[in-house]
């Protein structure tokens, strides 16, 4: 493993492709989970994937995420705060008590202009108290903050009853200065009031931009550029890769919906494939052909893959997508018998495993058998269908792609896979009753087929990169983009302020519009550099542009409504301001961790406090700041609760502290500190929101939700653990960038590095 033992023949850093790079991120497990959970409920429920459904689970995720992000930072710093949940309710009650004047003892009667900042100071004081006490006494933060937790619970109830004689503290809206603060903490974006008939064009345009940028970015990151690209390359492939599909896309939109017209679908596919082919063959080095003949194992895998996809499609068609009845096929005597057999099997297998007669994982089989009857009652027909369809289809495609990767660069297998997916899409579209299946699933399957085919074409044509290329200086472009975006942001914000909209609304509108302008200019610059300069390493900027455009497209779709939709619906979709804080905090948390000294120190005090201290990191100050960060966010959450509910019950927020910790762990943060991600915690909150709300959308019995969430936690921790070990292994492994080679000479090195990584 070590450079010095291997003789130092090749010290060059092995290039890791974009996928491998992504796989080493701490939040990758959460990201995959997020995709899986969304897919499950999207397939199961009609409303889950709509703007209304998104607003629904975002609302739950936001309040959770606002706290989960700082709790994750604190956890990375090696500490816990058990008072964080109670603190959210405490600041809410504090601000109401400070601002109300009821009876003889009824609160201080301050204006909110005083009461709100005062409650922030109150929160800061609690954070400082927690941090300082933990540092001074060197007691575990578990004990110290448990004390704070009980103090806060007692104070909430005690002072609430003392001042108002009730367990509900009421009437924030009667306080002085309510309007001003309500504009900030009670603000909401009501989608139905924002009609924009050009929305679908903006959404489609941004999606095309995102698709093109992401595809080109991935190609640029994956393949070696040729030194003398022929000049016709850019023009030719651009016409193919952008103009033709764009034309097809426009035709699709102007005819009857996104899906039905297969001709334009074919035009899009042909254009994209032609564009990718010309682009790859003209811009990148030609691949050196190496082809291996398919052996028996390969053929078997192909069979399994194709079979899985076919079975998935058949199941999707046979099972009823709208039936929310329980499956219940294992009821009565049979169910009871299977349950008994499962439990008995678990016991026997556990005993055998303990004595070393069978593998230690064997009892899992018994547990699964025992759970079958319960699952059969938990699952509705539509949920089972979604699980089976999604699981089988994904498994089938993954199997086929793995085979394709194993057999070198043969073109026919991935292309055949793409064709199978496309055929599946058409079958689903032709046969299905439900609109979701007919239109949405059809489009998604077609897109997947297209992506598979495009990557296959690229792989067959271009030579993989073997060395990393630094991102070139982007020169004036980012600066111009930032300047123009910033100026536009200020102008738009001032206009909104003059119009009399609230401060927060003006600010966020300004920033959003300025950001869109900045993105536009930056995207222009990136594409200009890509096409008209000899720079390499444009992959990263392209991916940035692609992700930003995709995010913007999503935001546009979620935030605006068309006249047609507005007239068709009774429902009111609203996004509360908590979503804004949630996104903001996750972004700030990620930036702080990755880019600032404080972030480095946070990792250090959590990973090895003594080491950090001995090289001059102010460990005590770092930890106290982290505790105060948690309390500031608890204050924000408390204000959001208070201005939303207007009256706050004494027990609001109690018990949420474990939820924050769970969400942070789901997001890939290490319980023991020193490793993790703020974005991951944000994703964890989103997963929680999706599951807790998706159960309602799917009309499953809500009594099961904790079972599902508990299962999620266990799975998340296992996946995260696996991903982290894999990440460390792939970073320690040298040479071949492909990770899937059989364990040989590298096995020892890998094990050693894992144990080294787990040392603290």
């Amino acid at each position: 493993m070590a450079a010095d033992t291997a003789g130092g023949a090749d010290e060059r850093l092995a290039y890791r492709g974009p996928i491998q790079q992504l796989l080493t991120r701490p939040e990758i497990g959460a990201l995959l989970g997020l995709a899986g959970v969304w897919l499950l409920f999207w397939l199961t429920s009609e409303a889950f994937g709509t703007a209304g459904g998104t607003a629904n689970f975002l609302d739950v995720a936001a309040l959770l995420g606002i706290m989960a992000v700082p709790v994750a930072l604190l956890m990375i710093g090696g500490e816990f705060d058990l008072s964080s949940g109670a603190m959210t309710g405490a600041t809410a009650i504090f601000v109401i008590l400070m601002s109300r004047e009821v009876g003889e003892l009824g609160g201080a009667g301050f204006s909110l202009h005083l009461a709100v900042p005062l409650s922030l100071c109150f929160a800061l004081a609690i954070g400082w108290f927690n941090g300082t006490l933990v540092e001074r006494t060197s007691l575990p933060s578990f004990i110290v903050t448990l004390g704070t937790f009980f103090i806060l619970i007692g104070a909430k109830l005690g002072f609430g009853k003392l001042f108002t004689n009730k367990v509900i503290v009421e009437g924030l809206d009667e306080a002085q200065g309510y309007e001003f603060w309500d504009d900030i903490f009670g603000a909401e974006w009501i989608r139905n009031q924002h009609i924009w008939d050009g929305r679908d064009w903006a959404w489609a345009g941004l999606l095309v931009l995102a698709g093109v940028a992401l595809l080109l970015g991935l190609l640029e990151m994956s393949y070696t550029r040729r030194p003398d690209p022929p000049p016709w390359a850019a023009a030719g492939s651009f016409i193919g890769a952008v103009a033709v599909p764009l034309f097809g896309f426009v035709m699709l939109l102007t005819t009857d919906g996104t899906a039905a017209n297969w001709l334009w679908g074919a035009v899009i596919a042909a254009g994209t494939l032609a564009g990718v082919s010309i682009w790859c063959s003209s811009r990148y080095e030609r691949v050196q052909q190496r082809r291996t003949a398919p052996d028996n194992r390969t053929m078997r895998m192909i069979g399994i893959g194709v079979g899985a996809v076919v079975v998935a499609v058949v199941l999707a068609l046979v099972m009823d997508a709208t039936n929310s009845d329980q499956l219940g096929f294992l009821g009565g005597g049979l169910g009871r018998a299977i349950f008994a057999i499962g439990i008995a099997g678990t016991g026997v297998l556990a005993a055998l495993a303990a004595t070393g007669h069978v593998r230690s994982s064997a009892p899992v089989i018994g547990v699964v058998v025992a759970l079958l009857p319960a699952i059969s009652f938990m699952m509705t027909v539509q949920a089972a269908r979604a699980l089976l369809f999604g699981g089988l289809a994904v498994a089938g495609v993954v199997a086929l792609m793995l085979v394709a990767a194993r057999t070198g660069l043969s073109l026919w297998l991935p292309m055949a896979t793409a064709a199978i997916v496309a055929v599946a899409a058409f079958v689903v579209q032709a046969e299905s009753e439900s609109r979701k299946l007919r239109v949405e699933l059809f489009s998604v399957l077609l897109l997947i087929a297209l992506a598979l085919a495009a990557t296959a074409a690229a792989r067959a044509l271009a030579q993989r990169r073997s060395t990393a290329v630094p991102v070139p200086q982007m020169g004036l472009w980012p600066r111009v983009a930032a300047a123009a975006g910033g100026a536009a942001a200020v102008v738009f914000a001032v206009i909104e302020l003059i119009d009399g909209d609230g401060l927060l609304y003006a600010l966020s509108t300004g920033v959003a519009k300025g950001g869109a302008i900045a993105l536009g200019i930056f995207a222009l610059g990136t594409f200009y550099r890509l096409l008209f300069s000899s720079d390499e390493g444009m992959g990263r900027p392209l991916v940035t542009v692609g992700l930003a455009a995709a995010g913007l497209a999503l935001a546009v779709k979620l935030m605006f409504i068309t006249t047609l939709e507005e007239e068709a619906t009774q429902a009111v979709t609203r996004f509360r301001v908590s979503v804004l804080f949630y996104l903001l905090f996750a972004a700030i948390g990620a930036w702080v961790l990755a880019k600032t000294r404080f972030g480095s120190w946070t990792f250090a005090v959590g990973g090895n406090k003594d080491a950090a201290r001995s090289v001059g990191v102010p460990a005590a100050r770092t930890k106290t700041t982290l505790f105060m960060l948690v309390s500031v966010c608890a204050w924000v959450a408390g204000m959001l609760i208070a201005f939303r509910l207007n009256s706050v019950q004494a027990n609001v927020g109690d018990g949420n502290e474990f939820r924050y910790i769970i969400v942070a762990v789901v997001g890939g943060n290490l319980l023991t500190g020193g490793y993790g991600s703020a974005i991951g915690a944000g994703i964890g909150a989103l997963i929680w929101g999706m599951i807790s709300q998706g159960i309602g959308f799917a009309r499953w019995n809500t009594d099961w939700r904790f079972l599902v969430l508990g299962g999620l936690l266990v799975v998340a921790v296992i996946v995260n653990n696996y991903v982290r070990q894999r990440a460390e292994r792939s970073q320690a492994a040298r040479g071949d960038p492909d990770d899937d080679e059989p364990p040989g000479g590298d096995a020892d090195a890998a094990d050693e590095s894992v144990s080294a990584g787990a040392e603290p």
Partner: protein
């Protein structure tokens, strides 16, 4: 003698009525390796702690560039250019090489609340500094936990020398390492010496000390057994003295009679 970087004259240290160290003298010069040898409990760690500012000596004189000093804290010793690489290394295993290299002294750019680490610069310097010591780290992004013991020692040494150390104290850098890894660390010691640093190499292994040392201080139960220049002592004599001569002979005799 006054042109030595550090000179110790009859340094003694008592913990209550326990004599931890008594009558130790030696000199430390730039571009030289001073080896401090001794078995467990010989007073090596007391010796380090006095130089690193953790403890203060009770008797004798500690001269830094001819002036008498007493370091009141580790920070004071560090400010005087004396850096200590402890056995447990002061590294955070889960953090990347470059973050560890710059931990506590990160280069920043930007201003006010937007101040952030200049990551490119930090990575580049870390890579350069490590390369200068002959360590080719494949990727400064990789966690320190994935490095071998020898590489970790090397990173710690490179870090100390980058941040302006004139004197480098290495506390048992080879004790937990295998033969090859130890060789790597010894090479680093020689490289640091060649760059003009004064190196104080604490070890209990004369086979490691002799090839790299210019001067040897041998401690036994808190007493100095002598302060030798390399030309005055052979490796065999060194081993003999360190183990307390007579005891070793007795042991050899005992083993031979079996």
């Amino acid at each position: 003698m006054s042109d030595s970087l550090i000179e110790l004259r009859n340094i003694s240290k008592f913990y209550g009525n326990i004599i931890a160290l008594t009558g130790v003298s030696t000199t430390v010069n730039p571009g030289e390796v001073t080896c401090v040898l001794g078995d467990n409990g010989a007073g090596k760690s007391t010796f380090i702690k006095i130089l690193a500012g953790v403890h203060q000596h009770d008797e004798g004189e500690l001269l830094l560039e001819g002036e008498e000093v007493k370091f009141s804290s580790p920070r004071a010793a560090l400010a005087a250019g004396i850096a200590t690489v402890y056995q447990d290394l002061a590294m955070v295993p889960l953090m990347s090489v470059w973050r560890n290299f710059f931990l506590g002294a990160e280069p920043t750019r930007g201003f006010g609340p937007f101040r952030q680490i200049d990551i490119e610069k930090a990575k580049q310097i870390a890579k350069e500094q490590l390369a200068e010591m002959g360590i080719d780290i494949r990727d400064t992004e990789q966690p320190v936990g994935t490095l071998s013991g020898g590489e970790r020692q090397s990173v710690a040494i490179a870090r100390a020398s980058y941040f302006g150390a004139r004197v480098l104290i290495l506390d048992e850098p080879t004790s937990a390492l295998g033969v090859k890894q130890s060789g790597v660390v010894l090479r680093r010691i020689v490289e640091a010496r060649d760059r003009g640093l004064a190196v104080i190499f604490i070890t209990h292994n004369p086979n490691h000390a002799y090839p790299v040392g210019d001067r040897f201080v041998i401690l036994n139960r808190g007493h100095s057994m002598g302060n030798f220049a390399k030309e005055d002592i052979s490796q065999a004599e060194l081993t003999q003295m360190m183990a307390g001569g007579a005891e070793l002979e007795a042991l050899q005799h005992e083993l031979a009679t079996h």
